[in-house]
């Protein structure tokens, strides 16, 4: 049996395998390390970081839905400073590419966060969250504003040499238009998708179950939508795609790669089985062996339509 090559590249970022852990579903790695060998996975994407620490939304923050869940965490995070001082040291113990996810409420804040974080060697790339549906500070919803997404890409690129990945919102008419702007402004890749806007009511109190009223839908329920968004981008824009949305097992990974993803992220599945990523990587290797796939990257965009 020859060795299978699971490595993939996203722009200039080389990963040993395509399985990343998604922002907001892995914390800063420490709790997850009790369950999974972080050295085996393709990469970790941090919880979205903002310039200052954020407390996040009051409870209730989470609601289960059919084959999915809504969350309205509200970007609770420690802020970039505390991240560098308290969280990075732990991650330095591991040989796993760290992708820093940044969320902000102004273009300036994105820039400032990037500038502060780019000096840290451990960080291998940035994922810019322009698409969190659960905070509306300053009335801005960047994810739905194509000019803002272009501007953010341009400005963030200008202050770092590291790859910049823009995480796109699915709550738009044509996600490929956003991917196109990202490419035009020099972005290295896009992540698709963030969560779908959803809500749920307690029928007895008539109140929304989430304190934030609406939240983001994730989990297997959204997989068909996420796949369609990946495919739309792949067919129309030449930019690497990190596929996200409802991935639970190796078959889902292969499906996302066929649809056009260069790599993928595991989100909600981490809550159900924090060792999913490791199991999936093993299963992908077996799959490649069985089907004589020497380089897994061949799968990317291999759909036959």
């Amino acid at each position: 049996m020859s060795k299978i090559d699971l490595s993939v590249t996203i722009g200039s970022l080389k990963l040993r395998n395509p399985v990343l852990l998604a922002s907001g579903t892995v914390g800063y790695g420490n709790e997850m390390s009790e369950f999974i060998d972080l050295n085996k996975i393709g990469g970790i994407v941090t919880k979205s970081l903002s310039l200052k620490p954020r407390k996040g939304n009051p409870p209730q923050r989470i609601v289960e839905t059919p084959a999915g869940m809504l969350n309205a965490i509200g970007l609770a995070n420690v802020g970039v400073e505390v991240f560098l001082i308290e969280k990075i040291p732990f991650l330095k113990n591991y040989d796993v590419p760290l992708i820093c996810n940044i969320a902000a409420s102004s273009i300036e804040e994105y820039v400032e966060c990037t500038k502060i974080l780019t000096c840290e060697d451990t960080i291998k790339a940035f994922e810019i969250n322009v698409s969190c549906p659960n905070v509306k500070e300053g009335g801005l919803q960047f994810g739905n504003d194509i000019h803002a997404v272009g501007k953010i890409t341009e400005k963030v690129k200008a202050c770092t040499n590291k790859p910049v990945i823009i995480k796109l919102s699915p709550n738009v008419s044509y996600i490929s238009e956003f991917a196109k702007v990202v490419k035009e402004e020099g972005g290295d890749a896009v992540s698709a998708i963030n969560t779908l806007v959803g809500t749920s009511f307690n029928i007895f109190t008539k109140r929304p179950k989430l304190h934030n009223v609406t939240g983001g839908l994730s989990g297997p329920a959204i997989k068909p939508v996420a796949l369609a968004k990946v495919l739309e981008i792949k067919r129309l824009v030449d930019i690497p795609i990190i596929g996200i949305g409802g991935i639970m097992n190796w078959k889902d990974v292969v499906e996302f790669m066929i649809a056009g993803s260069s790599a993928i992220q595991i989100g909600t599945a981490n809550f159900i089985n924090p060792n999913s990523a490791d199991e999936i990587i093993k299963d992908l290797e077996n799959y490649c062996t069985s089907y004589s796939i020497e380089k897994i990257s061949e799968l990317t965009g291999s759909y036959k339509i």
């Binding site: 907001g24 579903t25 892995v26 914390g27 709790e31 997850m32 009790e34 369950f35 919880k47 620490p53 407390k55 996040g56 009051p58 409870p59 209730q60 923050r61 989470i62 609601v63 289960e64 059919p66 084959a67 999915g68 869940m69 969350n71 965490i73 609770a76 989990g219 297997p220 639970m248 909600t268 981490n270 809550f271 159900i272 089985n273 924090p274 060792n275």
Partner: protein, 253 residues
């Protein structure tokens, strides 16, 4: 912490539709402490998708016990598990009760299914401590005394024991409580815990409560289970990681 598929040994039906499921899980039984919990995957399908948190109710050798009643989809599936089928346990999770501080009498205050964590608690409490248990319910079929000791009962409608809330019953027995140093350990509906907090502060009693919250992960990565902390207004505590047992003075109920 472990993720283990553990075989069900038996499901015991108590009165009042309360079930206790006995599961063979040496990994967990040897580590878990009273007040800690497990996050249980009841089905391999996506229905339900998320795990369900349950307090450890009791431990006997390699076996652990969980107490529950059928509420929704998850507990319905759990109730139907038969001997030999497995359930997928993640744990032990969270911080349990602090049994070893300086007190002479542990005052258990349990409302309804809040009785769940106490059978194991009663087993593990150091020999030199006394236990007195106050158990409340709306009516007699909500009173669960499984595994408890030295029990006083209250029901709102007086159908069993003292007529009134469990707080009323505590107040009735203040004299006993004021003999020696006591510490209250409580679990139950939120309204009861609020009253317990007020009662403890007023009477200057130590008090730990086990609280609930919606949860996704159960081990600190989803940030789904915040509870307002009294000491740090800038940051929520997490029920799953910082709790589920808290010093009642540390959280806003």
């Amino acid at each position: 912490m472990f993720i283990v598929k553990s075989p069900v040994e038996q499901t015991i039906e108590l009165e009042n539709n309360i079930l206790v499921i006995k599961v063979h899980s040496p990994e967990i039984s040897s580590e878990i402490k009273p007040g800690q919990f497990l996050n249980v995957r009841v089905s391999e399908t996506y229905s339900p998708l998320l795990r369900r948190p349950f307090s450890v109710c009791d431990v006997e050798g390699d076996f652990i016990f969980l107490m529950f009643n059928v509420l929704g989809e998850g507990t319905k599936i759990l109730a139907q598990k038969r001997k030999g089928e497995t359930i997928d346990l993640l744990g032990p999770l969270g911080h349990g009760f602090n049994l070893d501080d300086d007190y002479q009498t542990a005052v258990i205050v349990a409302g309804g299914l809040g009785a769940a964590p106490f059978p194991y608690f009663v087993k593990k409490i150091p020999n030199d401590k006394r236990i007195i248990s106050f158990v409340g319910g709306k009516t007699n079929n909500e009173v669960i005394t499984y595994g408890l000791k030295n029990i006083l009962i209250s029901t709102d409608d007086g159908s069993l024991g003292f007529k009134g809330t469990v707080i009323d019953l505590l107040n009735e027995n203040l004299e006993i409580l004021n003999k020696g140093k006591i510490k209250i350990f409580s679990c139950g509906p939120n309204a009861m815990l609020k009253a317990i907090k007020e009662f403890s502060i007023k009477n200057n009693f130590e008090c730990e409560v086990s609280i609930e919250s919606a949860m996704a992960c159960g081990f600190g990565i989803c940030q789904g289970c915040p509870v307002e902390s009294t000491s740090n207004k800038e940051k929520y505590s997490l029920v799953c990681k910082d709790g589920p047992v808290f010093n009642v003075r540390d959280i806003v109920l």
